[in-house]
Every structure is written in structure tokens, then in C-alpha cells.
């Protein structure tokens, strides 16, 4: 087994590692893109960096939207995932089996398919007590992304709880703690440290996935980039613009990735 495969098995979910080299590659792609754009430029076209700078405020607004979707989807998914995860270790077989089914259904469904389902199955407005509340597209996209997050958090919670040695349960039982107390006071506090790295991993993956919302027409960074390119109408700008978007995501996700690695290393030593 390769070292990477071993690490993935230990981590329980696939590991995701951003390295400085990735950043260098993106910068190189961006510079090559600028070069191409410059080479293909007509006589009276403005300089490439100037063009990018002109669109940056709009793209940044789109990026903030990406972040907003990621925060919301992560919050909703985490809360729902916690309940689902604890349901997976319930002593009641129907609860356990039901939550197992739900978890693995959403964990193994393609994210884009879930996004489309939420987009087209949820109504564009709901009327309750005579008040009509519209449901904007970005809300539906957020819910669509929250579903796989929920399923993954559920697995993280279940995995962490089950990774605590049974001797802890035994010690708690012999001190007359009941199951609920054991879970909340003894097992769960020990899980938090174990859950944090995979949870942050999941957040980074989710942030990447927020650009999927462009396919269903939400005005996030990717959508706005496409609009900017359409407005400029210069095919030579394509590589430069898309690597510019990539650069934004890298700058945001890289610190999270490094921090996750550091947390993992710290918690791997203890216990």
C-alpha cells in the first residue's frame, strides 16, 4: 500500500493536500495566460493586467458570494450532520438503519446531481399564512450543497465516536455514568480533536464546490467571470481569467490546508 493510501485509510476519508507547488503552478498558468492574451491582443486593446484589474471588484463580489454560500452550507450541513451522526450510533435499530441509509445515500450521490435536484424540485416561492416568501436560487444552491456536507459530517461524527476505545465506555459504566452522560461528558469531548481536521478538510472541499452553483445560474465568482469574458469578447483572455479565479481560491484554501495538516500532526501524537 502506498503511503498516501495508508494515510487515507487512517484518516477515514480521502485526504486533500494543497502544497506550495500547486500555488506556483497556478501562478505559472496565470503568467502564461497573460502572455497568450498579450500575444493575441489587437492594436488598441488595453493591457491584460489592466483588463483584469478592471473586473476585479466585480469578481471579488462574486467570491464573497462563494464564501457566503460555503459558510451557510457548512453551518446547515454540520448541524444536520451532527444529529444524523448520533442517530447512526443510536441503540434503536430503526433509527440507526435509517440514518445509515440517509448518510450513505447523500455521501455517494454526485454533488452536482444533488444541486440540480434542489434547484428544480424546490419551489421558487412559498406561501404561508398569506405571506409569500420567495426562495432565491442561491438559497436552493446552498441547501443542495449542505446535503453532501451533512452526510460527510455524519460519517465524521460516527467515525470519531467509534474510534474512542471501548475501555472508556467500560470505565464510565463502572462509575455509574449512564449512556447519555458517557457520550456527552466522556466520549464526545475526546472526539472534538479528532473531528476537527477532517471537518476542515470538508470545508475546503465545499469551498471548491461552490463554483458548481454557476451551472445553475447563481451569480458567484465563476458566473461573473464568464460574464466578464463575454463582455470583453477576447478568446485570448480565457486562460488568464480562469487561472486568476483559481488563484483566489488557492489563496483562501491554502492556509486552511496548512492549518489542517498542523492540527492533524498535533493530535496524532497524543492518545
Amino acid at each position: 500500500m502506498t503511503r498516501q493510501a495508508l494515510r487515507e485509510r487512517v484518516a477515514g476519508s480521502f485526504t486533500w493536500r494543497l502544497q506550495p507547488a500547486h500555488g506556483v503552478a497556478i501562478v505559472v498558468a496565470f503568467l502564461v495566460g497573460c502572455g497568450i492574451a498579450q500575444a493575441q491582443a489587437q492594436r488598441n486593446d488595453p493591457a491584460i493586467l489592466e483588463t483584469i484589474w478592471k473586473w476585479t471588484p466585480l469578481l471579488a463580489r462574486g467570491f464573497v458570494f462563494n464564501l457566503a454560500i460555503s459558510f451557510l452550507a457548512m453551518s446547515i450541513g454540520t448541524i444536520a450532520g451532527f444529529f444524523l451522526g448520533f442517530a447512526q450510533i443510536s441503540l434503536l435499530p430503526p433509527v440507526r438503519r435509517g440514518s445509515f441509509f440517509v448518510t450513505h445515500f447523500f455521501r455517494n450521490a454526485p454533488w452536482l446531481v444533488l444541486l440540480f435536484y434542489c434547484m428544480f424540485l424546490l419551489p421558487f416561492q412559498v406561501t404561508m399564512f398569506g405571506i409569500t416568501v420567495p426562495i432565491p436560487d442561491w438559497t436552493k444552491a446552498t441547501l443542495g450543497l449542505a446535503l453532501p456536507v451533512m452526510a460527510n459530517v455524519s460519517e465524521i461524527v460516527r467515525g470519531a465516536v467509534q474510534s474512542i476505545p471501548t475501555t472508556q465506555w467500560e470505565a464510565a459504566a463502572s462509575l455509574a455514568f449512564n449512556r447519555r452522560q458517557t457520550l456527552w461528558m466522556i466520549v464526545f469531548p475526546q472526539c472534538v480533536k479528532r473531528m476537527l481536521p477532517p471537518w476542515m478538510n470538508l470545508y475546503a472541499i465545499l469551498t471548491m464546490a461552490t463554483v458548481l452553483a454557476s451551472i445553475v445560474g447563481v451569480a458567484e465568482m465563476m458566473t461573473l467571470t464568464q460574464r466578464a469574458l463575454a463582455a470583453e469578447n477576447r478568446p485570448g483572455l480565457l486562460l488568464a481569467f480562469y487561472s486568476y479565479v483559481l488563484l483566489w481560491f488557492f489563496v483562501y484554501c491554502y492556509p486552511i490546508a496548512r492549518w489542517t495538516v498542523r492540527l492533524e500532526a498535533r493530535y496524532a501524537v497524543r492518545q
Binding site: A171, S174, Q181, M185, R270
Partner: protein, 253 residues
């Protein structure tokens, strides 16, 4: 000592024909024994003979299939609800081979947790008692240390203090020195000696034969899920009646 011998007569733990199986494997095949209040019973025998399981049956961690177990006022084999089991475990506390301290709590918090959350006692009183217990096991200076910062022997003594904080009637010790290095074995055994001196009823599974001989009122030799031979330490160690006991002792001593 006189007070102790007066109460010796009444048994506090009584096992009658206890059968226990894990799936198809029969671990205990009809075990009967009794321990008087304030008495000390040592259980010796080869590994896999069911010693640990026997202890776990006594505080209801492991259910039994046949026979009966009576501890103080509880019929352990008939306890069904969590509530009943919890009531029992306030009377019978257990110390494990691997200490099993809660790694996210300090030594003091480990000792205080169960009295506060299970017995619902006043936090200030529990703290005083916990500090006194840590002093008793010689770890007053380590009250704010986490288990990971303590040696095996120190962790085991915290575990003993943690069990004592529940004010149990009976203490069960499951090979509590087996995971320790030789120098720290002594400090844990001394702690148990003190408990016995104070009149605590103890059931001790151990491989420390000299300790068993010194401290026990009765020694039980188990093999293959049964008690092969029981007797006073002198009788069992010096004049074993059964061939199996002799063979075991000759290998160990």
C-alpha cells in the same frame, strides 16, 4: 481489627453457579464463591481462565446466562434497567488493568466527575474529598496533571482514588499491576494494602502471588472457567490439594 472480624461473618458478595458465555464460547462454567464484608478474596489462575469476566459479572458490566450473583442488597443477575445497574455500581467500583482514566480531564477532575454528575453531590464537598483521596494515594502534588503526563503507577493510583470517590462497599481490582513496570507495582500494591487495612471489601484478580498470600483471606484458583480450588493463602499456596493447582503454582513460584 476487632471491629472487622465482628462483621466478617456476613457475606456481602455471593456467587452461585454462575454461567457466562460469549456467543458459543462458555467463559464461566458454574462459579460459586462468597466474600465476607471487609474480606479480601484473591483470584489467581492462567490467562483466559475467566478471571476478568468474573469481575465484570459482579458489577453487571457483563450479563450472565445462569446462576445468581448477589452484592449487598442487589441481585445482579436480575438487574434490567440502566437505573438498577447504576444503583449497583455505586456500591461496587472497579479498577482496570489499563487504568482507563479519562484523558481529557485532570487527575482531580477524573476523581470528581462521577460524584458530581452521578451522585449529584455538592461540588465543594466533592473537591475536598477528592483532594483528600489524592493525598491518600500519594498524589496530592499531581492533582492538575493530565493522565498523559503521569506514569503508569500514578495513573493507576488516580484510578483507585476515582473509584473510592464513589464510596463503594466493594472494590474490584482487575490485574491492576499487570501493565506496570516493576518499580511502580509496589506503590499501587501499598495503596491497596491501605484500603484493606481500612476494612474495604476487595476482590482482587492478580498475578502477584506474594501479594495475594500476604493480603488475602481466601484465594481462589481458577482454570477453564471454573474455580478449581479455594482456601486460605497458606492452605492453597503451601498445601494445594489439586494436581492442576500444583502444576500452576510450580510454574509461577
Amino acid at each position: 481489627m476487632t471491629a472487622m472480624s465482628e462483621t466478617r461473618a456476613e457475606p456481602i458478595v455471593v456467587l452461585t453457579d454462575v454461567h457466562q458465555s460469549f456467543g458459543d464460547v462458555e467463559v464461566l462454567k458454574g462459579v460459586s464463591m462468597s466474600v465476607a464484608k471487609g474480606g479480601v478474596a484473591c483470584i489467581i489462575g492462567p490467562s483466559g481462565s475467566g478471571k476478568s469476566t468474573l469481575l465484570r459479572c459482579i458489577n453487571g458490566l457483563v450479563p450472565i446466562q445462569r446462576g445468581s450473583i448477589r452484592v449487598a442488597d442487589f441481585d445482579v443477575h436480575t438487574l434490567r434497567t440502566d437505573h438498577e445497574r447504576i444503583a449497583l455500581r455505586k456500591e461496587v467500583s472497579m479498577v482496570f488493568q489499563q487504568y482507563n482514566l479519562f484523558p481529557h480531564k485532570t487527575a482531580l477532575q477524573n476523581v470528581m466527575m462521577a460524584p458530581i454528575h452521578v451522585l449529584r453531590e455538592n461540588e465543594r464537598e466533592v473537591r475536598e474529598r477528592a483532594i483528600a483521596l489524592l493525598r491518600k494515594v500519594g498524589l496530592a502534588a499531581k492533582q492538575d496533571a493530565y493522565p498523559g503526563e503521569l506514569s503508569g503507577g500514578q495513573q493507576q493510583r488516580v484510578a483507585i482514588a476515582r473509584s473510592l470517590a464513589m464510596r463503594p462497599e466493594v472494590m474490584l481490582f482487575d490485574e491492576v499491576t499487570a501493565a506496570l513496570d516493576p518499580e511502580t507495582v509496589k506503590e499501587v500494591l501499598n495503596t491497596i494494602r491501605e484500603l484493606v487495612r481500612d476494612g474495604m471489601t476487595c476482590i482482587i484478580v492478580t498475578h502477584e502471588m506474594r501479594f495475594a498470600r500476604e493480603i488475602a483471606d481466601a484465594v481462589h484458583f481458577t482454570d477453564g472457567g471454573m474455580i478449581v480450588e479455594s482456601g486460605s493463602p497458606t492452605a492453597l499456596f503451601d498445601h494445594p490439594q489439586k494436581e492442576r493447582t500444583r502444576a500452576f503454582l510450580s510454574q509461577i513460584l
